[in-house]
């Protein structure tokens, strides 16, 4: 077994364990921390796959932005609820598991079967996925999606404004729902 494979298995195992942690934790805070671990290990894997820029972006965007935002919301609304209402949801559990296993089997089967050999000079072509290489590609061949992402961010901006704004005329804090029902 080569060292690189050993490394992959190690990091992959941590990543997988973290993924399981996200799903099984009772406390959302724990889930969020497991999620952070998962994101960080994936960033390590990106480096082994010649994607340096994305590894950095992964840490900055996901770990630094998204997880922090989620943690803020947890602090804001508190989220400790025990939500495994097993008796009520037994069927959906079984169905979920079954679907999951089928999905997994299908994807791994096709992933493992007859993959073509990677290109010989991959590393040269990818240039290690440095910011320079990705940037040049992004601002020449892929300028259209880049522009479109700007529209997407505009939507998110307006949306967060509309939904997050404190209601006009509403009293401090949480407005009463009963009035509308």
């Amino acid at each position: 077994m080569s060292w690189s494979l050993l490394f992959f298995l190690l990091v992959g195992a941590v990543s997988l364990a973290a993924a399981l942690g996200v799903v099984t934790s009772r406390q959302p805070v724990h889930s969020a921390l497991f999620l952070l671990t998962n994101f960080a290990t994936l960033a390590v894997l990106y480096i082994t796959l010649d994607a340096q820029f994305l590894a950095a972006a992964q840490v900055i965007v996901y770990a630094g932005g998204i997880v922090i935002l989620i943690l803020f919301v947890i602090m804001l609304i508190g989220g400790d609820t025990n939500d495994f209402s097993a008796a009520q949801r037994a069927w959906s559990r079984t169905v979920g598991m079954a679907l999951g296993i089928i999905l997994l089997l299908v994807i791994s089967y096709s992933a493992l079967s007859r993959m073509m050999a990677p290109s010989e000079d991959t590393a040269a072509l990818l240039q290690g996925g440095t910011p320079e290489a990705v940037g040049i590609e992004l601002f020449t061949k892929y300028i259209l999606p880049f522009e479109l992402v700007a529209l997407l961010l505009l939507v998110a901006l307006i949306g967060a404004l509309v939904l997050g704004r404190q209601q006009e005329g509403a009293s401090e804090g949480i407005p009463s729902v009963k009035a509308n029902e």
Partner: protein
């Protein structure tokens, strides 16, 4: 890269550009009139922008299809779908002029999101590469999540937004996973490139089938195919009615257009593998949609299930997978835009009559023909058209789709489709019967409520829709020639 490349063929995206600039103007105007209530001006501006967009599409209509930056194309199909979406957008804006307090207060946000959703939907129809397709999908999905929750003070609306968001985001992950596997199969995100690589025996063909399966799950959620439809009635019922009306048409048109192009330009060589699962989905969708619609008491929920059934009908065109079928689907969507939005407009007008904010029960329609003869007559026309009774627009939509499917050798599927149409006639006609032939149960207090006049823009939408449904029905050939399919 030469900067000239950026402007070469940029005319392909002219309608989108017009709308994008329009959104910015709209937001500026909104800032300029801070503090004023009412959003008449903004609505007028949005309509003007959308009409400019239609003008721009008409301008580039006859040109030979060109591709822009390997990501967008302007062929007949893209333009046809664009037209449908722009029309749905105009009608949706007009519908919102019904004294909804939330929209009056935050008109700037509402109309800019509406226009952005239209841009995203139009891009779905033009996208020729997986990255653009995915971003377009996300643009309109995100805008619609927010619009569904636009009545923030209404718990149902916010809840609808939450459900729509969680299921929609879940579906998007499947969609993008499917895109990733297709990229792995063909080594490119360009549809045509994927096809070329796979057709010449290269790539990883073993990744194609799981890729298609995952894409189907994501796509099924977006156009609410059974068994991925459970969010539809809830969201349709909870979301503001003008949004529901726009969404029910726009999402279908956009998602079908994007998926049509993807399947027919990237994976035509796998047609044998994907046609059968799609056919089964179509049968399920039509049957479950129609049978469940039979049991609904709320008009909006009934329309939601009817929308599911219509998605099943359009799916038949995709199963057939020919150029004729894609133009039939465009025609179907064109007709559907008018009749469905028309039906929702009447629903809004009736909501106002019965004093309920955001829904109306079917049982209350009894005797409506006496109280509101014009509304009832319009509703009757839309219901007849939706059920596919000739010579209205809905009939020719179904007819063209079924014809294309028979020609492609899917006669059994068409038989099931026709049977389903017969079932659907029952619940559409039930509304007509209730309005015209039933007496209201508690006649006393209902009569006392004064008649609430519909807004001028609603009247306009109803008149235009009725005219369109009748004219398209009388002159189907004209419109069928105008709306083109893939590769035509």
């Amino acid at each position: 890269m030469d900067t000239a490349l950026l402007f070469d063929n940029a005319v392909v995206l002219l309608p989108e550009l017009v709308l994008a600039v329009g959104v910015m103007v709209l937001m500026m105007v909104d800032i300029g009139r801070r503090g004023q209530n009412g959003s008449q001006l903004l609505a007028g501006l949005s309509v003007a922008i959308l009409l400019l967009g239609i003008g721009a599409s008409v301008m580039i209509w006859g040109r030979a299809p060109v591709e822009y930056l390997d990501g967008a194309i302007s062929d007949g199909f893209a333009l046809s779908v664009r037209l449908v979406i722009l029309i749905a957008g105009v009608l949706g804006v007009l519908l919102s002029r019904n004294w909804f307090p939330a929209i009056e207060r935050q008109g700037g946000a509402f109309y800019s999101l509406h226009l952005l959703a239209v841009i995203g939907m139009m891009l779905m129809g033009t996208a020729t590469n997986l990255i653009v397709l995915f971003i377009a999908l996300e643009i309109f999905s995100l805008a619609l999540y927010i619009l569904s929750g636009f009545y923030r003070e209404n718990a149902r609306s916010i809840e609808a937004a939450m459900k729509y968001f969680l299921l929609g985001a879940f579906a998007s992950t499947f969609f993008v996973y499917g895109c990733a596997l297709l990229y792995g199969a063909g080594g490119s995100s360009k549809f045509t490139q994927i096809h070329e690589t796979l057709a010449t025996g290269g790539g990883n063909p073993s990744l194609v089938l799981p890729g298609i399966a995952l894409l189907l799950v994501g796509f099924g959620f977006k156009v609410s195919l059974v068994p991925f439809h459970m969010w539809t009635p809830d969201v349709y019922q909870g979301a503001p009615t003008p949004v529901t009306a726009f969404m029910s048409v726009g999402t279908k048109a956009a998602a079908f257009a994007g998926f049509f192009r993807l399947m027919m330009t990237a994976l035509p060589s796998f047609h044998d593998q994907w046609a059968m699962p799609l056919a089964i989905l179509a049968v399920l969708t039509m049957t479950v949609g129609n049978l469940t619609a039979l049991r609904q008491s709320s008009v909006k929920r009934m329309l939601a299930y009817s929308g599911i059934a219509h998605a099943g009908n359009i799916l038949i065109a995709l199963v057939a997978g020919t150029a004729a079928a894609s133009s039939a689907a465009a025609f179907y969507l064109f007709a559907y835009a008018f009749m469905n939005i028309g039906a929702f407009t009447v629903t809004i007008a009736l909501e106002r009559q019965y004093g309920n904010e955001n829904d109306v029960e079917q049982s209350r329609l009894a005797g409506a023909a006496e109280r509101f003869p014009v509304l009832a007559a319009a509703m009757a026309i839309f219901m007849l058209s939706l059920s596919g009774i000739p010579p209205l627009a809905g009939f020719f939509g179904k007819f063209l789709v079924f014809k294309a499917a028979v020609e492609a050798g899917w006669a059994w599927l068409v038989v099931i489709g026709v049977l389903n149409s017969a079932v659907s006639a029952y619940y559409y006609l039930r509304i007509v019967v209730a309005m015209y032939f039933q007496q209201p149960e508690q006649a006393g207090d209902e009569k006392e409520q004064p008649f609430v006049p519909a807004s001028r823009s609603s009247v306009f939408v109803v008149v235009v829709s009725v005219l369109a449904v009748v004219v398209i029905g009388l002159q189907p050939g004209l419109w069928a020639d105008l709306l083109r399919g893939l590769g035509q």
